[in-house]
Point group: D4
């Protein structure tokens, strides 16, 4: 799609190495493998240096296994997110080499070492013990992407001393991922304490007027700290992905 690729194709076409039909075809053919119900991108990893990632939500174990195998053929690591315990068990039966992380609901197919990368550590801070599954999704993904991760868990703003006790950790991070349900105030407080970018992850932890995480989401979007951006409710993966991009040299 980009100019370089068009130029290279043209040159080969001009040299007669590529026919007109081939040219048009090559241009149109997308770099994916067609599986019928899925179109699997097979070289995203090469571009970004990251493992291949599959969103597990709403996919059957059979679909995930087929997609993971297709991606694994390229030789890199493969990460499946949002793997429920039931699907994880089925997946393991089909792909015994799969590594399952229960708390963050991740499945990993490791085929290559992960080289360390990033300008500094990524701090993952969460407000309560109930937020730990989302925090672990963020932390484990960030680690799998080569980052050094520092965890600060159960540090909600109602006990400010628990958060301030880890101020050093927060201030030396090059990116902070702030995770909280209920009123989501952690994002604003952390945002005010550090000068690095803060990625806020609202969680569905809470009850009643927490509205399944919508309250924390809205609160984080309205943060009075200017260095805060927000991802979807419970989206620990997305936060880790963007944090990894930011942390790249």
């Amino acid at each position: 799609m980009d100019r370089e690729r068009i130029s290279a194709l043209l040159e080969r076409f001009a040299r007669g190495d590529v026919s007109r039909e081939e040219f048009v075809e090559a241009f149109a053919v997308a770099p994916f493998v067609e599986l019928g119900d899925a179109r699997v991108d097979t070289h995203r990893a090469l571009r970004a240096g990251f493992p291949e990632v599959v969103l597990g939500l709403g996919k059957t174990a059979d679909q995930l296994a087929r997609i993971a195998r297709t991606l694994a053929a390229a030789g890199g690591n493969v990460l499946v997110t949002r793997v429920s315990p039931e699907v994880a068990a089925e997946l393991r039966a089909e792909l015994p080499e799969l590594e399952i992380l229960a708390t963050p609901r991740l499945a990993i197919l490791r085929q290559a070492p992960v080289p360390p990368r990033g300008r500094g550590p990524i701090a993952v801070v969460c407000a309560g013990t109930s937020d730990v599954p989302v925090a672990e999704e963020a932390a484990a993904v960030a680690e799998l992407f080569g980052n050094k991760v520092e965890r600060v868990y159960d540090a909600g703003v109602a006990g400010l001393h628990r958060l301030l006790a880890s101020l050093d950790v927060l201030r030396r991070a090059s990116v902070v991922i702030a995770i909280a349900g209920m009123e989501g105030a952690l994002a604003s407080v952390v945002g005010g304490l550090v000068s690095a970018p803060v990625i806020a992850v609202p969680t569905s932890v809470g009850y009643g007027a927490s509205l399944g995480g919508v309250t924390a989401l809205l609160a984080m979007l309205n943060s009075c700290a200017s260095n805060v951006t927000v991802v979807n409710i419970d989206n620990g993966f997305g936060a880790a992905y963007v944090a990894s991009l930011i942390n790249r040299a």
Copy 2:
């Protein structure tokens, strides 16, 4: 209810073939069969040339069987939508000739061949693998209504090359059904790529701020492409029905 029917009745009344009482009665009697908890229209198919359709949602297997049998008496095909696996099993026990399509949750009672119809193919494009059940509902229904269907699955906008690779398919369709959950952006992008009418189907695929499909629904209603109209969340059937109407010569 319509003028032709009144005229014909009148003529017969004028000739004395029909008494005043019969006339009033005929006029009032609706063309349905009263089943107590259901009033089954028995000649809609004749009018539109389509199979009879029963919305399965919220109906018991017993109710569905009675309705399907009543409709089948007219000799045409009968389609039941939104048939859960449990209800499907019960239905099969009562009506063994029923054909069950598991993924799109359809049950079909085929009694007549479906003649091909339509000015061109209907393209069914969906954003992700998780949207396939809704896409298959649309595709299977459109086929049962006599249309040629072309499927483009897992072609979400974040990997634009996967969508553009099927541009030919989209552009030669006389109607496009665009199906997506999450942010529903597929409808706008497809809308901009084709000049045919696009029927957008939001799906309940997603989590957190997807609000069970409401986000995709709202996004599709606000599409910046002018050729997009929208049906209810997960309403693959409705999209196929309207697409079939549009595609009729």
Copy 3:
């Protein structure tokens, strides 16, 4: 972007009529005129046979005048929607040849006759007198796109006889546009009365629990009639655009 254009370019490139640089450039150059704050498509009309359309909402009179002039250079008709009275007055000062339709808030620059087209008339039916501005937007746009339009106004379902009195008009239309605020029931009733596709337009007419049109919108999306699709609140233009596409031979 499409194969034909690539093929043609290639052929000229193969013949040496086009250099590699020109080829890449030509491919990349988008068919629009850059105005700084607007990128004006200049040949959409050629593709679809419709006038050029500019959404007036949120644009200044100065911006609209610049865009309209750019589009008018191609010789076709230009339609500006959502033109407030204030902007209309300013626009007329800059483009005296502009025709202003006050009720539907449209501005038209007519440079070419509109050839009649469409398989049949488009019926525009609205529920109440307060819905007329939206209905007129739909009707006027449909006419400008070459369709024959039949208007049925103030035919809300609480006085069913007012609607049934126009049943003939509704039944002979090839597409029906049903416009209603408040509870939006008109769409379902009309949908049940005709076998043509019905495009439902919710309006912001109402008060209290009408929630600025959201109630009518939701009701229409849940229509128990299967031939109904929906566009955004007050979007008479969009309904007319899609109806015109459907009505094309």
Copy 4:
């Protein structure tokens, strides 16, 4: 609490039949039986001529049995609403004389005949087969309150002839209860066809943008027919209660 009761007490007090302490006590003592977690009104029936009613929702079988027994001691009929199948089974074990109506989830303890009352029949009309449980709650309750009930089921507005076929029934009713999920248009159409008061009951039947009945509720509140009032989603009981009050001579 009311003047008559105060006057009577005063007279007896003035005659010395009642001491000052007794007077104050009598005034303060509320006419209910204290069961700890429930305060059971024991003479509401006397006032209104209706059976005692207990809302079953959220109460355990044990609580319902205790409340029903307390109410039954007064000799009248007792009606329990919203009885789930599980609770119904438990209740029957404790109170074998209880009559269970499965579809409308009612339990009735009949101790006295229900005298017929009301100026005319109450028509209960519902849009679809899935709405029947709510419709039956309304119909059975209205009958238990002494009204003649006429049922018109599966008469949604998309098949207007099914509704119009029962126009006679609707027009001779002294009150109409209109029950519908999805877009709730039935209320407006029925409201326009009759001159009696119409009580609209939205149901939670539907999916996606029906929002659990909120769409039908909003639509009914915005009805363009002036004779429509609305009760809570799925509240067949409430509709029957008010219809019975209206129907009293």
Copy 5:
């Protein structure tokens, strides 16, 4: 539309007094006057014995004047609701005989005395002084429909004595209209104090979490008193209309 009218027509047709064309035409012709942007029903008053009513919301003074004159031609009274001060001034200029009620925003064209009717008085009770405009709309309309009205204003539940002081008035009413904004608790308390039907009208009075009346609306729909039904926010007219229907002998 109804059987009697069909029978009569038939008899005349059978006698040759009416041709087939005339018969069909007569049947189809609806009893309204076509004004282009309005279809005015001209004999609703005859049917119900009520004045003709026009909803002023969203209509221009010119439209209202044309509609009112058309209705007035039948000789009965005409009521226009939701007349803003600006429109009222314009209307008076065109129809000097119009009587304007400023607080309830009503305009009345009196051509006939209003005979008293109704089984008993209608009580109109409102919670606060700010609710008076809606209360007056209800009260004035109910009076115009022939009912005796008793007003109980500024009787919110936070000062229960102010409400209880008017208990007599409430209890002798055959229908009660309960009007409140903010938390809307008045409806439940009044519902528990009387055995007549209570029509609850939420108002848009309040701020912040009152959400323009939606809070009061939701509260009233969830009333723990079974004799409460609800109309749209600020819909004093609708409440009075239904109360009048209920109050008819």
Copy 6:
């Protein structure tokens, strides 16, 4: 309504000082002055030792003047809240002795000194300069109710040092009123820093996803600090009223 009053009345009735009619009347007569569109409580101040308070929102200057005069007749202080600049000007014209506080939109009629009361100071802390009008409403009302008030303004959590600098003030308060718009995080942070009760007031300050204060409201209701309760958006008066009750010895 209470037993003492009934007993006293009874005694006088028993002695013949009060007739039966007078007794019933006395019981029913509520302690308010009927103004037609308002029922003014005239001795609430005596009960609670607070000034009389009138909610100005939605009342005309004429209504407010009549109510204020009626209340002033008892000799105490009168406070009118939510007085817009326009109404304030009109009110001053009618009641020149009125003291107007522009920022908190209060009008005060001082007739008696306010004795100091309360176990300790009430701290009023707000997040931003834009929250000051609501904060001043709370502070001024609390002062008028006899409390010592300490103000901590513009102390949002994104600059935690600005809040911590006033930690002393917060910790010595017997009640804290925490006022914030946007994400409302201030309430949770303050709640964690003090052991006194915290009354949180969300404000409508913000834009976009602040939803007019709903976001701050929801966040405060979900506070992870257990000592936080919440009042309506912008309800500085209510917070001060409850704080005064709590602060009473």
Copy 7:
């Protein structure tokens, strides 16, 4: 964090009892025990004289047991809220000395007697039998915090006599906790009857338009009684906590 602690540390530092490193360390070290996924505050009880409280929601039995044991080491009482029956069973297996209260879903580890405290009784009043679990959470917690509690259950406003019968109880309370689902009107009525602070707890009891407690929540926030503040839906614990703070001498 507070001045006294800094002063004391400084004095010891000045005397040489504490090194600079120790000083900084001491200052930074927060008074909590790090459990990895939880940071347990170990001396909150000392500060407030209350038992330690753990929110059970979203925590595993294993996590709760570890946290409870850590807190119990300080010798005070430990309270765990929101303990589901399943978790309660697991917890009992690990901590047999735990006392389980099933209705309010509380687990208590009693190690010390609870001294009575508070200026007066706390009244806990709820609207219906279904609200009892939340009411018992409030009542049991308030008792565990040393308060005398008076319960008034099933006293909803539709049967005002049931509420008024307990007026004495309400009026002698120093704080009232008012608990209701559905329309939540109890808070306003109770607020108007007492002059003490009222803490309103909306419950998720209801169906349809009760929206899981949001309706009651909104209604309570809009209470026309000025002495009402609100906590989250079903938050009986929070209400009892604040009531205990208010009730402290």
Copy 8:
């Protein structure tokens, strides 16, 4: 607050240069200037190398002038955002040296040159002409923070060629700010085209179901592209601030 500052203070305290009182005081004194209704941070610029920023929303010209002057005293640049035309005029009267940017509603007090910084350009892409004010806020702020900015305006996804024509610009940016109203699909499409972090800004551009920007916000939060984070509706400033942080070497 941080260890270094405590250590330094301690050292001076240990040397006797600082008394105990001074130490405690120094620790508590926050680095801001108290203006009564504002607490102005005076050295945030030093920390981050950015100009001082004041949110103009909800502040009077007088407040803004006082705050700006206080900040300007430190010698750096001062930026005021969300300055309405009216406030801008007043501000200019008080601070004539202020530079006003009308389209992005910014006011700038330039006292120092802005050194170029950042690893690469920041691309600001917006969907439509109506989004330009928000886009200009982002672009102008990013420039003021020293970044090179590349603008791609009016490049909505319905005309994909207009976006793809600027693919080079997007791909060479180190951060992309994607701005769109209506359905907000631009963020997902851009996210899929680049591998840099994308900060999505929903705008309030649109009508009807765009819900003032909430639809675009929700859509962006649900983006199927993993490199997208989101800020509040219309928050061009916040996007530029975070983009600047990310772009710092």
